[in-house]
């Protein structure tokens, strides 16, 4: 169940809040774990079973890693536990892709294909696996203590607000709250506000832009003009940002309602001046995870230039693959890796001499090119789309099968302008507005305004969600 579904908004979340508040402190974690499994069982029944079984194995192996004093055994246990989880991830997320590719090659060679039935992908498995690896590795290095109970570890993995899309958190950043957490009136209020903001980002901005993006990426060659292809990718850049940041806001908000403090995941990434900065602002917890658990273990930047660059490329290929089992994601990862690489070689020095606005514009432009790969289903589709974007010889061509106005309504124009303002507004302006409000308005007034704004955003989002389910014809043809 998604956070924007009716079953979540009107049934699951209110009931869990109610019973969680009523439950004795001793069993709150257990109750929250049960609720989280119910949430996961609804969305991904097989995933829930796999998660439960693998959590038991992890818990036992992590306990052994924590207890044993022999480095060799410790290493072996870590290798075993991490391998189990990576094998599970590869099987469920990548097996269809790899077998499909191999069968494609076998087909070209006129050889019999490997018999294969597609595996159902358990939701959130990438996030769950990264949580598990971070936990096991932290126990190994002694940066975290093994969970004091199975409930605590299972809850760390299955906690429903962050189960499907993160943020990815290390066990020791949240272990205290897992053992003992309680929502207060203040945390409930702050959580609700954050949730409503996230809901609005997702429903009112991302989903509205998504209609346009879907329509443009579906267009045939006679209609996909230079202008429309640029509109499509610009809209997509905002759609994916507001979708993901909206989800994160909702996750953080729900966490606050129950007394958890989740790590921030985004910091206005489109104002980045370089790709290096972008990866400090976009999906921060994923970037941190790769740095901590892949880049540094590979040697990081301590083993000479060549190895540093090799490590970077590995990280970005894996980053691409982590996002999805498709060549388009691998190319997207390599594309980002290329610019991180160029940053390291010379670009970071040059950017210092270029005006900030130009740096931001250039980085955003390159990000757009990357998004084309991310959004396209195939490499061929992505190259075709890019070909359209840069075919300036046809810049005056108008589509023959559709008018842009049929795809992009006034509401979408308003939404994209709003999204652009929210994305590119300088940080300092936000701070100034906040400071000015704090000086001129009482705390009560600010709280009241927040409450009213959140309520309006919730209602606007709700009516939009409900309306999206209403697709009537004038008449049925029977």
């Amino acid at each position: 169940m998604g956070f924007t579904s009716i079953i979540f908004l009107f049934y699951f979340l209110p009931l869990v809040i109610l019973f969680h508040a009523a439950a004795p402190k001793k069993i709150r974690s257990l109750f929250f774990l049960a609720s989280s499994y119910l949430f996961y069982l609804w969305g991904s029944p097989t995933g829930a079973v796999i998660l439960f079984a693998s959590s038991i194995v992890d818990y036992l192996l992590a306990g052994s890693i924590g207890r044993t004093r022999r480095p060799g055994t410790k290493k072996l246990l870590l290798g075993l536990s991490v391998s189990i989880n990576i094998i599970i991830l590869i099987y469920f997320k990548y097996a269809n892709f790899f077998i499909g590719e191999i069968n494609g090659v076998l087909n070209l060679l006129n050889m019999a294909a490997i018999p294969w039935k597609d595996v159902i992908f358990p939701l959130g498995i990438s996030f769950i696996t990264f949580h598990k690896i971070s936990y096991l590795t932290d126990i190994y290095y002694g940066t975290a203590k093994p969970a004091e109970s199975f409930t605590a570890y299972a809850l760390y993995l299955a906690m429903f607000p962050k189960l499907l899309q993160g943020p990815i958190m290390r066990y020791n950043t949240i272990s205290g709250e897992i053992v003992s957490h309680a929502g207060t009136l203040d945390s409930m209020f702050q959580g609700c506000i954050r949730f409503c903001v996230g809901l609005a980002k997702k429903v009112l901005i991302a989903d509205a832009l998504g209609h346009v993006v879907d329509a443009i990426f579906r267009l045939d060659s006679s209609s996909l003009t230079v202008g429309l292809s640029w509109i499509g990718v610009v809209f997509y850049s905002f759609q994916i940002y507001f979708d993901f940041t909206g989800y994160t806001d909702m996750a953080i908000g729900i966490g606050r309602m129950f007394g958890f403090t989740f790590t921030e995941n985004f910091n206005r990434p489109y104002i980045s001046q370089t790709f290096t900065e972008y990866w400090r602002r976009w999906h921060i917890t994923l970037g941190n995870w790769f740095r901590e658990y892949l880049y540094i273990p590979l040697g990081g930047n301590r083993a000479g230039r060549f190895n540093t660059y090799r490590n970077l490329w590995i990280v970005f290929i894996v980053t691409g693959l982590w996002h999805g089992a498709n060549w388009t994601f691998i190319i997207w990862g390599l594309f980002h890796g290329l610019f991180i690489f160029l940053d390291r070689i010379f670009w970071l020095k040059i950017t210092k001499r270029i005006p900030v606005a130009l740096n931001i514009a250039l980085t955003y432009f390159l990000l757009l090119v990357g998004w084309v790969f991310f959004r396209s289903d195939t490499i061929g589709g992505a190259l075709y789309y890019l070909g359209r974007m840069f075919d300036f010889t046809k810049i005056n061509n108008m589509p023959t099968t559709i008018m842009p106005a049929s795809i992009i309504g006034n509401r979408e124009i308003f939404v994209v302008v709003l999204a652009a303002i929210l994305s590119f507004f300088p940080d300092s302006w936000f701070v100034q507005i906040k400071d000015a409000a704090a000086v001129r308005m009482s705390e009560g007034l600010i709280t009241g305004l927040k409450a009213v704004s959140a309520a309006v955003l919730f209602v606007l989002s709700l009516v939009s969600i409900i309306n999206s389910s209403f697709n009537p014809f004038i008449y049925f043809r029977f």
């Binding site: 169940m1 579904s5 009716i6 079953i7 908004l9 009107f10 049934y11 209110p14 609804w42 969305g43 991904s44 029944p45 097989t46 159902i120 009136l185 203040d186 409930m188 209020f189 609700c192 209609h211 108008m398 589509p399 023959t400 099968t401 559709i402 008018m403 842009p404 106005a405 049929s406 309504g409 006034n410 509401r411 308003f414 705390e443 009560g444 709280t447 009241g448 409450a451 959140a454 309520a455 919730f458 606007l460 709700l462 009516v463 939009s464 969600i465 409900i466 309306n467 999206s468 389910s469 209403f470 697709n471 009537p472 014809f473 004038i474 008449y475 049925f476 043809r477 029977f478």
Partner: protein, 383 residues
Amino acid sequence: MMKIKKAFILISNAFIALVLLQTCLKPIPDMILSGAEKKVRMPYFTLSDWINREFQNRMEQWLKQNLGFRGFFVKTDNQINYTLFNEFSRNHPRKLILGKNKYLYEEPYIDLYNRISVAGLNSMEETAASLKSLQDVLKKHKVEFLLIITPSKTSIYPEYIPEKVIIRKNLSKKDSYQIFIPLLKRYGVNFLDGRKLFLALKKQSVPNLFPTSGSHWSLYGSYLFDTSLIEQMERLLGKRLVRIASRGIVRSREPIDLDKDIARLGNILFTRSLFTEYLYPDTYPDAPSGAYRPNILLVGSSFCWNIIHYLDINRVFSRLDFYYYFNTDYVYPGKKRNRIDKDRVDWNRDVLTRDIVIIEVNEVAMDENGYQFIETALRGLER
């Protein structure tokens, strides 16, 4: 400050509780939504449906469709779109487009105007040939045949289409209608051209042929068409039929039936804001003694409802069967409804006993070949 936070949380909870109460008990009558919607049934739980997520998907759809105050929520969202952004929700399978002077259009008719959906010459020629064959077979059995072409709002009132949705460079191309008419003439099919008639009436400054708030022709427009239809039937049957006369025209700001179909489909809170002025003839039958009331079989689309309206209230026919999309048979007088089983039509009883068979086809559906009636009838009658 704590009071504000408490109040916010209390009000939020109360709101959710109220919606749930309405969902379960419906103490307040909900606003009714216009339009035909596929109802989702509450799913039964089975383990396999649950594992492959079928159960969950259907349950979520069912909950969405049955949420308390759904009508109010949908209309509120649509009203926001209309008021703030001057447009309708894009959720409709056939998008609604707000034109100039409150003229509303459905997207397929705009596509027709933009020559996006043009039927192929070969298929049109096949249709024309089939129509001619059907006309000949019926003639052998002394049943007359007439094809009526109903116009699209965009053909009659293109001046109100918003400029931003017009593909100018396509307008020089031929549309389906322009391809079809010469073929009908070449094959000698009897037809009544509603588009030609309406453009002629518009030239004579006859207003309101299509209502601003409707997708189909207006009741007034179809009344004018009916008079031509009766004239044509008289020529084909060689008999004086009951005609429709008018005492005068009533002006109203309250549209009737189809005259407000798109406006209603917009499902905004204040639908009346979309209404303009409508004309309704005060008709009576001109039926001198000996005037003949034919037995008619009419096959067609929703454009036929307005054709039938004045024919029915003025008792122009003795019996009329309306084969709606050749799926459902509405028997007049009385509008009794029967399902049509295409494989079990009794052609002798249901078709050859008629005075005339009329097929209606709208400009937007010229490639639909009479909704399979033509080929089914040809097969059935030639047996």
